[in-house]
Each structure stands twice: as structure tokens, then as C-alpha cells.
């Protein structure tokens, strides 16, 4: 038994099965990311004044990553064009760049995540707030009763401000920008060695820190999963799957096209993610 139209298009629709399939899949992806974008808007519009942080992401790094993804997008389509022109060797070379770009994207993204996870906000018992990057944790840290103990000191490189905000309940969302505005000058960056015993709460900039970071991690995390998945598929087609080029070149070219369509979609999502999360 053969399934018709796996390789050649059906006359009345002009499509082969996999191409229709991937477009349908992308349609559902539009709804998936669409729901998250809608959530982003709602959370942002509904945020309390000042509770939506600005400028905590690294724009140059984000820009570079955008460029990396754009590069990979053009190489995918060029690779496919090379195959169409029967130039397998060229396809191999070009597509390698795609895979390399994907790897680079993921590396850069991991660096950004790492940056957030080592970015701490410490609320002191006396109401001061210190916000900065982790330099070191000193002392303590042993395990008692199966629970990890906190360190004696936490060393941060960052800024300090007295809590203008009245209660610690609210101090969970102090934002440098807002505080700088309040104090009217740039806060000085320096190193703080904070005794753990004097802290009231220590929290890094993980998704739990506020809804902006929550949606940031969700959107970019899901996107990164798509990048990884797409890269694996493209890599498989490029490597072990390439045997098909000899037996069924048409179908192989189709596979490359379909994986490329997915890859472009991933790029397209990022085109919106970048301004929304980094710039606005």
C-alpha cells in the first residue's frame, strides 16, 4: 500500500501531504504562541503602576541573537534552493551554518538565563534593598536534616537603596528604574557583602520574581524548545537522514523544505518576541 502524494503534489490542491501537514501544524503553533502573546498583553495592561520592569534584559546580546537567528533563516532557504538546483554538496555546507547558528542561539540564550538566575534582589531586615549580581556565597551551605542551609554571607555586585516602599510585601517589585527616578540620580554600583542573618528575603530574577519575568521565561523557554527541536530535525535530515537523497531526491528535498518552513516560523516568533520583551 502506498499513500498518494507523499512526494508529488496533488493536482487540485497543488500540495504534497507533508507541506499541508506542516502548515496545519504551524497554524496550531500560531494559536499556541498567540495565547501566550495575549497573556502577555493582559498581564502587562493589568500590572500595577510600576510593577512592570523595564530594561532588565541585555539589549545588545538580544540584538546579536536576533541577527544569528536571521542568518540561520536565510541559510535554511538557501540550502533548500541549492538542493532544488541539484547541488547537494552546497546544501550540505550551507545547512551546516544553519545548525551552527541554532547552536549559537541556544548558547547565547543560556548565557542570558544564567545572568537572570545570578541576579539577586535582597531585602534587608532594616528595609534596605540591594539588587545586583552574585559574586560569591561564603560559608554555610551544608546540609542539615536533608535541607540545604543558607550561606553565611552573600556577596553581590550592584546597587543599594533604602526602601522607599513602605512594606516588605510591596518591596517584592522594586525596580531600579523607578527608584532611580524617585531618588533622582543614578545609583552607584559597588560590591556588597551581606550577612545572611540580616536579610529578610533573598530572591533571584527567576520566573517567580514577577509576572514580567514569568512570561519572559515562558515565552523564550518555549521558543528555545522550538529552536532545539527544529535544530535536531534539521540536523537529522542533514546527517543520517541524507541517505534518502540517493534513493528519493524529490522527497528528500521536500523534507528539507518542510523543516525549513518550521524553522522560519521559529524565526518569525522571535521577530515579535525580541521587541516585545527586550524593548517595550
Amino acid at each position: 500500500m502506498e499513500i498518494p502524494f507523499t512526494t508529488l503534489p496533488r493536482r487540485d490542491t497543488g500540495l504534497y501531504n507533508a507541506k499541508l501537514g506542516i502548515w496545519l501544524f504551524l497554524a496550531s503553533e500560531v494559536m499556541l504562541f498567540g495565547a501566550l502573546f495575549s497573556s502577555y498583553i493582559l498581564l502587562r495592561v493589568g500590572a500595577m503602576p510600576g510593577a512592570w520592569p523595564h530594561g532588565i534584559l541585555n539589549v545588545p546580546v538580544g540584538t546579536v541573537n536576533t541577527l544569528v537567528l536571521i542568518c540561520s533563516s536565510v541559510t535554511v532557504v538557501l540550502g533548500w534552493a541549492a538542493l532544488k538546483a541539484n547541488d547537494f554538496a552546497k546544501y550540505r555546507k550551507i545547512q551546516l551554518v544553519t545548525i551552527a547558528c541554532a547552536g549559537m542561539f541556544v548558547c547565547i540564550k543560556s548565557y542570558e538565563y544564567y545572568d537572570k538566575f545570578t541576579h539577586y534582589e535582597v531585602v534587608m531586615k532594616d528595609g534596605r534593598v540591594i539588587d545586583g549580581h552574585l559574586v560569591a556565597k561564603e560559608g554555610g551551605g551544608g546540609v542539615v536534616d536533608g535541607r540545604r542551609q543558607p550561606p553565611e554571607f552573600i556577596v553581590l555586585h550592584g546597587v543599594e537603596f533604602a526602601a522607599e516602599l513602605k512594606a516588605a510585601g510591596m518591596a517584592k517589585v522594586p525596580l531600579i528604574e523607578r527608584l532611580e527616578k524617585q531618588s533622582g540620580h543614578h545609583l552607584e554600583h559597588k560590591e556588597f557583602r551581606i550577612p545572611w542573618a540580616e536579610t529578610k528575603r533573598v530572591q533571584n530574577y527567576g520566573p517567580w520574581h514577577n509576572t514580567y519575568l514569568a512570561i519572559y521565561f515562558t515565552l523564550t523557554g518555549l521558543h528555545a524548545l522550538h529552536v532545539i527541536g527544529g535544530a535536531l530535525v534539521i540536523g537529522w535530515i542533514w546527517g543520517p537522514g541524507a541517505a534518502m537523497w540517493k534513493t528519493d531526491p524529490e522527497r528528500y528535498t521536500n523534507r528539507v523544505e518542510v523543516s525549513g518552513l518550521f524553522w522560519h516560523f521559529v524565526d518569525l516568533v522571535w521577530i515579535f518576541l525580541f521587541p516585545i520583551l527586550y524593548l517595550l
Binding site: A27, G46, L261
Partner: protein, 108 residues
Amino acid sequence: MSSNKAHSSHDHHQKGIKIYILVFLALIVGTIITVLAWKIHLPTIFLTVLVALVIASVKASLVAGWFMHLASEQRMIYAILGFTAFFFLGMMFLTVWAMSDVPKPIFP
């Protein structure tokens, strides 16, 4: 006859590659403009958002239209994407509308 056809498809091919490169350059330029526009701090938030989203949409259309060949796709695909776009916009606008109308938050 057949060699003639091969030749024309080769031309076609070259033209295709040229377009891909042009689109690529446009995407790079678009990205740079977005970042610059953000750097110079436009007068209102509204304008900032507008510029960013318009550029993003243009970039997205370039990717979809030429990298994904949507500019010359089959009708069936247009139909499917048309529905999807409709439902996506419906979801987005109706939820945003619904949430913007009533209830007030406890804290002003």
C-alpha cells in the same frame, strides 16, 4: 526543448537566490532600525510600541512571504491561514476587550 526549460529554471533559481539575499538584508536593517528607534527614546510610549510593532510586522511578512513562499502559495494554505488569523485575532481582541471593561482591581 528540454535544455531550454532547464535553462529558464536556472534563471528562475538565480532570481530566487537574489530575493532571499535581499530579504535577508532587509531583515538585518529592520532589526537595526528597531534597536535604534528604541535607543533614541521616542516621545510617547504609543509611538514606541507602534514603531516596534510595525517594523516587526514588516519583518514577519518578509519572512512569511518570501522565505516561506507564502507570496506564491496554494489557495488551500491561504484558506487555512486565513481562518487561523481570524481566530487568533478574535482570541486576542476579545480577551483584551473583555478584561479591559469590568471588574476593577481591589487596589487602585
